[in-house]
């Protein structure tokens, strides 16, 4: 059973809005590089899923969660900067993923493939987005305090390490939501670029979230339209639109 265009559009809006929201916290945590790299961990997961003939989303989610736990564990134990750990894990994941997927499959896993979505996929994606939004709605205060100072957070009864793991899982779920339609590379970009733009132009938390969500949805809509009009894949134009907004924000910064 397939979905209609309206349902697909709804899904794209929800996915991109969630990406913008999560991205706001990613850029505030200075996890941009880490987050982008972590999204690539989905690649070997998709490879495995194709090999085992299970749904790619399941493979991607599984690999992302595994990567998240691994990175969190190493960072906590070795007290290495998360960027270092992720850099290593990411390179390994990309190597394994490239070995397991090839040709068209690899391109689709990286850049996405416009497909008819099943009802089940739609429901799973909506449930995932709802979960992510609910987590941030409940925990944004604790996240905010611990990104300013882990020690202050600890002193008022927050457990920063546990909170960090929860947030990274939420990020992994967000990336997994988009992997199927946008591709691994592009979903990471949709989380990060609009939020990076927002961080540039906004001065408050509310402003950052509003701008990031707005730009993520706008980039998704404009990019999809450009892709359809030119008969190309929709992923690359979406990212290019987001990049264009980012460049515009630099201009504003330089002259205002």
């Amino acid at each position: 059973m397939s979905t209609t265009t309206i349902e697909s559009a709804l899904l794209l809006v929800v996915t991109s809005a969630t990406a913008g929201l999560v991205g706001s916290f990613i850029v505030m945590r200075r996890m941009v590089l880490a987050a982008d790299a972590l999204s690539h961990v989905a690649l070997p997961g998709i490879g495995f899923a194709l090999l085992l003939k299970i749904h790619p989303l399941v493979g991607a989610l599984f690999a992302l969660l595994l990567g998240t736990l691994f990175i969190w564990g190493i960072e906590r134990r070795a007290r290495l900067p998360v960027e270092t750990v992720v850099g290593v894990v990411f390179s390994g994941a990309l190597a394994v993923g490239s070995l397991m997927t090839s040709g068209d499959e690899l391109i689709h896993a990286l850049l996405g493939k416009p497909t008819q979505l099943g009802i089940a996929e739609l429901v799973i994606a909506l449930a995932g987005s709802t979960g992510v939004v609910a987590f941030l709605a409940l925990r944004w205060r604790e996240l905010l305090v611990s990104l300013v100072s882990r020690d202050i957070a600890t002193s008022i009864g927050i457990r920063p390490w546990s909170l960090e793991l929860q947030f990274m899982i939420v990020f992994a779920v967000t990336v997994a939501l988009g992997v199927r339609y946008l591709g691994v590379l592009l979903m990471g970009s949709l989380v990060i670029i609009p939020a990076a733009t927002a961080k540039h132009v906004a001065v408050s938390l509310r402003g950052t979230v509003a701008v990031a969500v707005g730009l993520a949805v706008t980039s998704m809509a404009l990019g999809t339209w450009i892709g359809a009009a030119t008969g190309r894949e929709t992923g690359p134009p979406i990212v290019l639109v987001a990049v264009a907004f980012f460049l515009l924000s630099l201009r504003k910064r330089a002259f205002v």
Binding site: M28, R141, V145, V148, S149, I156, L205
Partner: protein, 232 residues
């Protein structure tokens, strides 16, 4: 009187290096403890252990029902962080389940204007940010304040105000205060107890017992010009 804090044989290690070794002291409720000692003697590490941010050996026991207000020494924050002072205070208020009224009251107490608090935290001066952290610490009605060099970077009127705030909080609410300071005159003026951390051993007791030329010479390893009886 019942102790709010009991520390027995406390040690904190980073790898093979013991920063605190076999430290024992007890603090009655409502006391003001000044922690002094040379750089690298473990003052900040002690505070971080006390709030539960560092693993330790030995006994570290707070009385039930303590609520910390912790002001760290320096925070390395991202100057570009799109957060205002009010964002941070509102987050704290939300966690504690108090409202905007308490936020305004905390700002008033430390003497930070609302207009300053609504700026991005990266745009605040060092002293203003310190006052913001102070307001943050006071927000949820703490009964234990841990202040790591609270007046560093704050101007003279601001310092006087903070000292005043501490006095009033202590007299109204029986708050226990632990503070790290290099200013020995502040220490002897306010503290009921002094913990002097040296690299070899630590001294704990009343200010007049601990802050003696002999102890200071031993702890700092050089002559420190200070006499408790000098101030009038």
């Amino acid at each position: 009187m019942e102790n709010i804090l009991d520390v027995e044989h406390l040690s904190v290690r980073f790898g093979d290096t013991a920063v605190l070794r076999d430290l024992s002291f007890g603090l009655p409720k409502g006391a003001t403890l000044a922690v002094i000692g040379p750089n690298g003697s473990g003052k900040t590490v002690l505070f971080r252990a006390l709030i539960g941010a560092l693993p330790h050996e030995g006994v570290l026991c707070w009385a039930p029902g303590v609520r910390f207000g912790y002001v760290p020494q320096k925070l390395d924050i991202d100057r570009d962080l799109p957060l205002t002072g009010l964002d941070l205070l509102s987050a704290r208020a939300g966690i504690a389940g108090v409202g905007a009224k308490e936020v305004a009251a905390a700002l008033g107490r430390v003497g930070l204007e609302g207009a300053v608090a609504s700026r991005p935290i990266g745009a605040l001066s060092g002293g203003q940010f310190q006052l913001l952290l102070f307001a943050f610490a006071l927000l949820a009605n703490p009964n234990v304040l841990l202040l790591d060099e609270p007046t560093a970077g704050i101007d003279e009127p601001g310092q006087d105000r903070l000292v005043e705030v501490l006095r009033s909080i202590q007299s109204e609410q029986d708050t226990t205060v632990l503070l790290i300071s290099h200013d020995l005159s502040v220490v002897s003026g306010q503290a009921t107890h002094v913990l002097c951390l040296g690299r070899k051993r630590a001294y704990f007791g009343a200010p007049l017992e601990v802050i003696t030329p002999k102890t200071l010479d031993e702890i700092y390893g050089t002559h420190v010009r200070f006499h408790v009886h000098d101030h009038d």
